[in-house]
Amino acid sequence: MEVRETEAVVRFSPETATVYFSGALRLANVKAYDNVAKLLHAAAAQVGEQPLVLDFKELKFLNSSGITALSLFVVGARKAGKPQLKLVGSKATAWQQKSLANFQMLWKEVPLVIE
């Protein structure tokens, strides 16, 4: 499963139960993130009881609309109680230090790994 945007690719790998984000996501508004949201929901349905990993290491940029869209997904998962989420970020990318902590604030039990 894969979503391709102008500057970014979001790909779900069922083998590793991981959604890989790469490139730069600068879509115009939250609505424009519908395809990414659909992929996340489909991935969530597929992993079932396993934790779903969101890997942002290769994502250089995510705008506020993207953060909102991802936040809504995290909040939805918290409400439903599944899937378990795990966030993986990179120390090298400035936005991740700040914003990934924000996702964790939405759901405190979500483990955050900054590599």
Binding site: A24, R26, L27, A28, N29, V30, K31, F61, L62, N63, S64, S65, I67, T68, A69, S71, L72, V75, A94, W95, K98, S99, A101, N102, M105, L106
Partner: protein, 530 residues
């Protein structure tokens, strides 16, 4: 905008760019399409005519060679024909092959080869015209019959090469004709034999008949068989038909293409008009949004009313407003409440969310007697219900509230950091990231908003800003950043607040060096004076 967004403005202007290309229908410009439709019928006409002429000439000469070789075993004048005739065949069939190739779209056309094949094909026919008229053993029939190919060639030259070439050939052919007539002699008369004269001639003794033929030949009147004229006439007729066949269809096809082309042009015109209206509407909307945002910002005099504080603030809205919010309100017991925030996304809706947030915030601060966390929770509830539930929009905002009283500052809510420039020049940065979450993102945020405190000594400066400041981009796409902001303020710390604000903005403008202001830029400077 939340801390990391610099791009939405770019994205939106990108979208507007797409609608400016609104002339495109299915990815192509309607006007371009109209032009193509009108050009299409005439586009390959020259090529088709040239191919048919090449094929006729080439195959006729080839046939001639084959027949001669089959019946005579050699060509009529081997020294000349063994070279000239294969050359004519090669040129014509080569030209036909190249042009067919291009016509079928299997080969890209090459202007040089196009010109070469046209000129050489027509040139050979012109040469043949002159040869037929002037080297014909019968000078009487050359004026009467062979000249018709010259006449036909005026037409062919005009179609294949152009008007100028046709006129030039017209001049040549007239000169050639005059010369041929003079060669024959103007006094020459075509006298037709009566039946009895013909019978008398056929009745001549072989010797007398031979003498007569020799005399005729000597005078350039070699007898020629009618079959030869019939064949040549057929070739000429074929050439004329070939040229006319494609040319005659042209007018009909252009006429048929007209309504479709006109329709395309009308679509283009309508699109252009719609686009102009859309631009006007968007211009008005942005104008309204900017005015709404500016309307609710605190007036200059209001900033001066706060005991013990010197406050200066300035906001520069982006062309498509980014929904920055700042406010300075009087709190209970002589305290001062400062507000700084940034709505996600851009445009009129962001401006409207900013207005709602300001109104809700003012009400909340008054109702809670300036209690920061409950105020944030209330504002969150209002924005979530109005924006997410009612407007069906995912906009939300970073929002930090600060309350100053007697040298102590309480702060709650998540936004950019708060920068403190101590009177000594020492710079501190207070992270608001752990103090909350975007307002309007979640229905309930009770457990997420946190209050923190710090002190402000006499002469200390406090800097509130939005990401428009730190993410202002240089032409090399480098961000202004908090480092430069701290330096810009610290180096001016002895100046009045309004001069510091002006100075920092001057630094930012120097940094972006005439580039685009992607996002609203807001800066609030506060100094403890008592």
């Amino acid at each position: 905008m939340t801390p990391i967004d610099t791009s939405s403005d770019l994205q939106l202007s990108g979208e507007r760019g797409a609608s400016q290309r609104g002339l495109t229908i299915g990815g192509r410009d309607a006007l371009e399409e109209a032009t193509e439709i009108l050009e299409e019928p005439s586009k390959n006409i020259k090529r088709k005519i040239l191919i048919s002429i090449n094929l006729i000439v080439g195959s006729v000469v080839l046939l001639h060679v084959v027949i001669q070789l089959a019946t005579q075993g050699h060509l009529p004048a081997p020294a000349r024909d063994n070279v000239v005739l294969p050359l004519i065949i090669a040129v014509n069939l080569g030209s036909a092959a190249y042009n067919l190739w291009v016509l079928r779209g299997e080969h890209r056309e090459r202007p040089r080869l196009d010109r070469l094949t046209r000129w050489v094909s027509i040139g050979l026919i012109q040469l043949a015209c002159l040869v037929f008229v002037h080297l014909n053993p019968n000078t009487a029939t050359s004026v009467l019959f062979d000249q018709t190919l010259s006449i036909l060639t005026v037409f062919l030259t005009g179609i294949i090469i152009g008007r100028g070439a046709a006129i030039a050939w017209f001049a040549v052919t007239i000169a050639s004709f005059v010369f041929a007539v003079q060669t024959r002699g103007v006094e020459f008369e075509y006298v037709l034999m009566t039946r009895s004269e013909l019978a008398a001639m056929h009745g001549l003794a072989p010797a007398a008949a031979q003498a007569r033929e020799a005399a005729a030949t000597a005078e350039g009147l070699t007898p020629l068989p009618l079959a030869l004229f019939a064949i040549i006439s057929l070739v000429y007729t074929g050439l004329t038909l070939a040229a006319t066949y494609f040319e005659a269809g042209l007018i009909g096809r252009v006429t048929a293409a007209m309504p479709v082309a006109v329709q395309k042009i009308q679509i283009a015109a309508r699109e252009k008009q719609r686009l102009a209206q859309e631009n006007l509407r968007m211009g008005l909307e942005l104008d309204v949004a900017q005015r709404l945002q500016a309307m609710i910002l605190p007036r200059g005099a209001e900033l001066q009313r706060h005991a013990g504080l010197e406050i200066a603030a300035h906001m520069v809205p982006a062309s498509e407003i980014g929904g920055d919010i700042y406010d300075v309100l009087e709190g209970p017991d002589g305290s001062t409440c400062l507000v700084i925030g940034d709505v996600t996304d851009h445009g009129l809706a962001s401006g409207v969310v900013m207005l709602m947030a300001q109104a809700a915030l003012r009400t909340a601060l008054e109702q809670t007697a300036g209690d920061l966390v409950p105020s944030l929770v209330r504002v969150n509830s209002v924005i979530y219900k109005n924006v997410s539930e009612r407007m069906g929009d995912a906009r939300n905002l970073t929002l930090a509230l600060l309350r100053y009283h007697d040298g102590e500052v309480r702060v709650a809510g998540q936004h950019e950091s708060v920068i403190i420039v101590r009177v000594s020049g020492e710079v501190e940065e207070i992270d608001t990231l752990p103090l909350g979450i975007n307002v309007g993102l979640l229905p309930e945020v009770d457990d997420m908003m946190v209050e923190s405190r710090f002190t402000l000594a006499l002469g200390d400066l406090m800097v509130l800003y939005t990401d428009g400041v730190t993410e202002a981009e240089s032409p090399a796409k480098a961000e202004f950043g908090t480092g430069r902001l701290k330096e810009s303020v610290a180096s001016r710390r002895s100046l009045p607040c309004d001069e510091i604000v002006r100075g920092v903005f001057a630094d930012i403008y120097r940094w972006i060096a005439g580039g685009i202001v992607h996002d609203d830029i807001t800066l609030v400077l506060v100094r403890r004076t008592a």
